[in-house]
Symmetry: C2
Subunit: 275 residues, 2 copies
């Protein structure tokens, strides 16, 4: 675990157990995970999911985790209070509340299990996205400066976006509502279930591709972890089909280098005002 | 509201506010909503969502609601305890815990709003399913007796399944992982946001179409309400793409008679054992 401890992500989700209060953990939200006005919602979900992993012990992996975002997080100390609701044979379920200065930022409910012991049967009709190789995709260094300036977390990523879905960066959004690319952490830390919670919310808002610049605050984000990822690149797709009533859904899929669908997520987010 | 009060669904989600304890409600889970071993998960989600509607007042509609199922419910009394986490301008967020005899059945987190005042802009690439007219679809009366015997709630429904997706009922599952059809309540009660929570979990498990008979217990179900439905028939699709590690996702879409996508949901459920 020495290498893991040195990685930025493991530092980002590090927790200290409270000496007296059972189920309580202290975290430090790093400035390096900021996006737009606050700390990335996927990182916050990973912090909460990590706390429940520690509570559940033999069920370390968030098989299904749902987060409701209550207020914008800021870099600095945060407290996570967990409650175990049920300890089952295959899954254990609990809640986690992440707060700063007594103000709740995120409420989570999740069912954790052990993906290493999961039933091996797979029946899938899902196909991984067709992407040009990473060296033919667009690195974040080419992203608009306004974007990078507001998204320190992009420096933590080696994110290579498919040129076919990055027209918005050149002022020519496709209108298809799709952004996809290759993802790995800049410091080489390999993927695991907790990292996938970050990856599910790592790409720019898919509304950029609808010609709606500006940030899209997450109302709710649920991630289902379907398998343990193998080391290497991840392929990530973000898609929306329906923007209505001031909100849109963003569906993400994460595929590992073995071609396995390792995570599926959906979030409901507030639509940016029309350009 | 007299007609609404007389409908089976409104009776099914009826709540009595506890005289002393703030945020507590009493419900009676009707035997008519049973499916397989317990009470239908969509009905339970509607009961919990209803309690939060009453708590939030001016934000009556569950815009996003996530339920984690902890133990099988049985017909009879149930208690719902709610906690308001945040009251915002557009959305109010809270939790609800549904229990029977002190055993928690369902834990919910949800953000409620007022869909009647929602921003009118719609940008969608989603298309409603192509279905034969209801009178050319297959009524539940033709379903296998074993199915009906285990699913009293089917008698509450006027459910007409697309012949193209009902091969499983004749021992010839398509393997596509898709079941779709027309839905309305048998007693004519018109759709509203709370009813859509039931509809999202109303069709037979999509795994029937994969040749996996038997019930599929829901781990987690999240429903996003995207618009208020108009009166009339609803079109419902249930689709799965990935069964792996002993679980599968079931994505549901609900379309109203105006052709509007009114609800999107996803659940993670435990896969039935292979036939």
């Amino acid at each position: 675990m020495t290498t893991a401890i040195r990685s930025e992500f493991d530092q980002g989700i590090a927790l200290t157990r409270h000496p007296e209060e059972a189920g309580r953990y202290e975290a430090e939200l790093g400035a390096g995970w900021q996006i737009g006005g606050g700390v990335n919602g996927g990182l916050l979900l990973a912090v909460a999911g990590h706390a429940l992993s520690l509570e559940h012990g033999t069920h370390p992996d968030p098989v299904s985790i749902s987060g409701y975002y209550l207020s914008a997080s800021t870099p600095g100390p945060a407290t996570v209070r967990t409650e175990v609701l049920r300890t089952g044979r295959g899954l254990s379920t609990g809640t986690a509340s992440l707060s700063q200065d007594g103000v709740e930022r995120l409420r989570v409910v999740a069912s954790h299990g052990d993906l290493a012991t999961a039933d091996g049967e797979v029946r899938t009709s899902a196909l991984p996205p067709q992407l040009p190789p990473p060296d033919q995709c667009i690195g974040v260094e080419h992203a608009p400066k306004e974007l990078i300036a507001q998204a320190a977390l992009l420096e933590r990523f080696d994110l290579r976006l498919d040129p076919a879905t990055i027209g918005w960066a050149l002022g020519q959004p496709s209108g298809n509502g799709r952004i996809q690319g290759w993802f790995r952490l800049a410091d080489g830390r390999e993927p695991d279930p907790l990292l996938l919670l970050l990856v599910a919310d790592a790409l720019p808002p898919v509304t950029f591709d609808l010609g709606l610049p500006g940030w899209a605050p997450t109302v709710e984000l649920t991630v289902h972890l379907r398998a343990r990822p193998v080391p290497g690149w991840l392929r990530v797709t973000h898609v929306t089909r329906n923007l209505a009533g001031g909100y849109f859904e963003e569906d993400a899929e994460v595929w590992d280098e073995s071609g396995r669908l390792v995570a599926q997520s959906r979030q409901l987010a507030r639509a940016p005002r029309s350009a």
